[in-house]
Subunit: 304 residues, 2 copies
């Protein structure tokens, strides 16, 4: 039991974030390239901070399966997940979408670089993610057929059957009355799909079998939905210094959220229930899943 | 000589286009999927016609190297090239970019589906291209390390060092005086990079060696630049029924083009010179490169 007591999630997250930030800095082309503005815009949004939760989940899953020796080889995949997440934020913030001026406490990409460059910076980050994923020199020791499975996993989660599908239903539901099915669809796709993919990518890289992959996918499904519910709750009652966005911005925009549908108390209860289910999904694993277990509770505590 | 006389490029292009259109229809998810609007928007732009020049170049290169037996396995890559080309057109046409109402003779995506869905349909086509490229079930018989090289080639050509870089310089040069270097940069990147990639992908799939790959890349570089010059010329003097766009739209927008920089006569001479250089780059190959040779001249004749 000594190990579990000694484990400090905050230190763990800090260390992992540093590893990921260094890798992102290394993989992302510098602004000495031509034309500078596109590289500036890509770097501006990607290096603006953020919790790097998707890459952390990917690396923590790798460790949970005893494959921490592959961490360096897994970093391109972990960083590709963050690049795709960042591109989706840039495009979500555009005037034609959520029309947000502020993100992570700083002006959004189109406010700084103009709409044209913001669209192209998003496109470029998405494309760069796949360029990184197919760079054999960086992912040494990973068999090419595994890399292809990782690319397929990420493209499926990010595309029209995943994140983009969720975003489409989200933008088309604003100000409209939607049912519970649509609410779940939005949350499990817009946020959930890439969270699940982050975990599955870690598992694929570690060479997980079908059973482990299924259990970890269930964990991912629960924390993905919980993550979005916690985000919704924070948007209602959080302070701007934490979110970098205006409190109540979802409500004023007529966004469909868990609090607007179920109220705050039931939303909190749902999030807690999901955290429990997430931990339960890991019951067949050993103590190396401790970071994943603690992350499930951490997301609730920090956010809701 | 009999074979060469009998070869009819128009029939060849028609046959290949049919094969590619069938494959696109097969690979692209149907609008019975949820949410229908994103699949409708993806299909609207991708199946709106077009010459399918990139996939044709890919398949013609495969044949030039005697690997026509791999055509079925190469179709996902050929179609991915067209999906990426189509996504770039959807985003180029957006109000924040070229603000075009009409493309291939029909209203542009954002005119039909709204700006939000047009942005997302472009994102989805780009993502779907990589999902298709990493689908091992479709690319049977191609070694996974070759597929990864193809993905890397396409991502590099489509990204910030290729097509997107060219588009950035293009949108930022409108109405400004630019020098010859910038003009060449725009044309070799915005259009050229993906044309070169189409040919190189065919060569990679055929297992071409370094020397053949270099020669074919030179061919691609010449026809890519020629293709864009011919397009510029057509924009000045072509008729709308052929282009689907307004004649003179580049000039009224203050776009930097070969005719605006060198005049029509010198632009035509440059295009012809490039066609010759393209054919010359193929001098070390046998008669199976006949479609590629004839394509070089065809592009000039049809366009300029």
């Amino acid at each position: 039991m000594k190990t579990e007591v000694a484990f400090c999630l905050d230190d763990y997250l800090k260390t992992k974030k540093q590893v990921i930030d260094n890798a992102l800095e290394q993989y992302l082309p510098g602004q000495e390239n031509y034309p500078p503005v596109i590289f500036q815009a890509m770097r501006y949004s990607l290096l603006a901070g953020g919790k790097r939760i998707r890459p952390v989940l990917c690396l923590a899953t790798l460790e949970a399966l005893g494959a921490e020796g592959l961490q360096n080889a897994a970093l391109p995949a972990a960083c590709a997940l963050e690049m795709i997440h960042t591109y989706s934020l840039i495009h979500d913030d555009l005037p034609a979408m959520d029309d947000d001026d502020c993100r992570r406490g700083i002006p959004t990409s189109h406010k700084v670089f103009g709409e044209d460059i913001a669209i192209l910076a998003g496109d470029a980050l998405l494309t760069e993610a796949f360029r990184l994923l197919s760079n054999r020199e960086l992912m040494t020791g990973i068999p090419p057929e595994i890399i292809l499975a990782v690319i397929h996993e990420i493209a499926t989660a990010a595309g029209c059957f995943g994140m983009i599908g969720g975003q489409v239903v989200d933008v088309r539901s604003e100000g409209m009355s939607v049912d519970e099915d649509a609410l779940y669809y939005i949350h499990t796709h817009k946020t959930g799909a890439m969270i699940v993919a982050s975990i599955r990518v870690g598992a694929l890289l570690a060479g997980a079998g079908r059973e482990a992959l299924d259990a970890l996918s269930r964990y991912g499904h629960h924390i993905g939905l919980m993550f979005q519910i916690a985000d919704d709750i924070l948007n209602v009652e959080g302070d701007r210094s934490k979110t970098g966005k205006s409190t109540g911005s979802d409500a004023s925009r007529g966004k469909v959220t868990f609090p607007s549908f179920f109220g705050l108390d039931r939303s909190r209860a749902k999030a807690c229930g999901l955290a429990e289910q997430a931990v339960q999904a890991l019951s067949g694993f050993d103590r190396r899943t401790e970071p994943l277990r603690m992350l499930a509770n951490h997301i609730i505590e920090r956010k809701a």
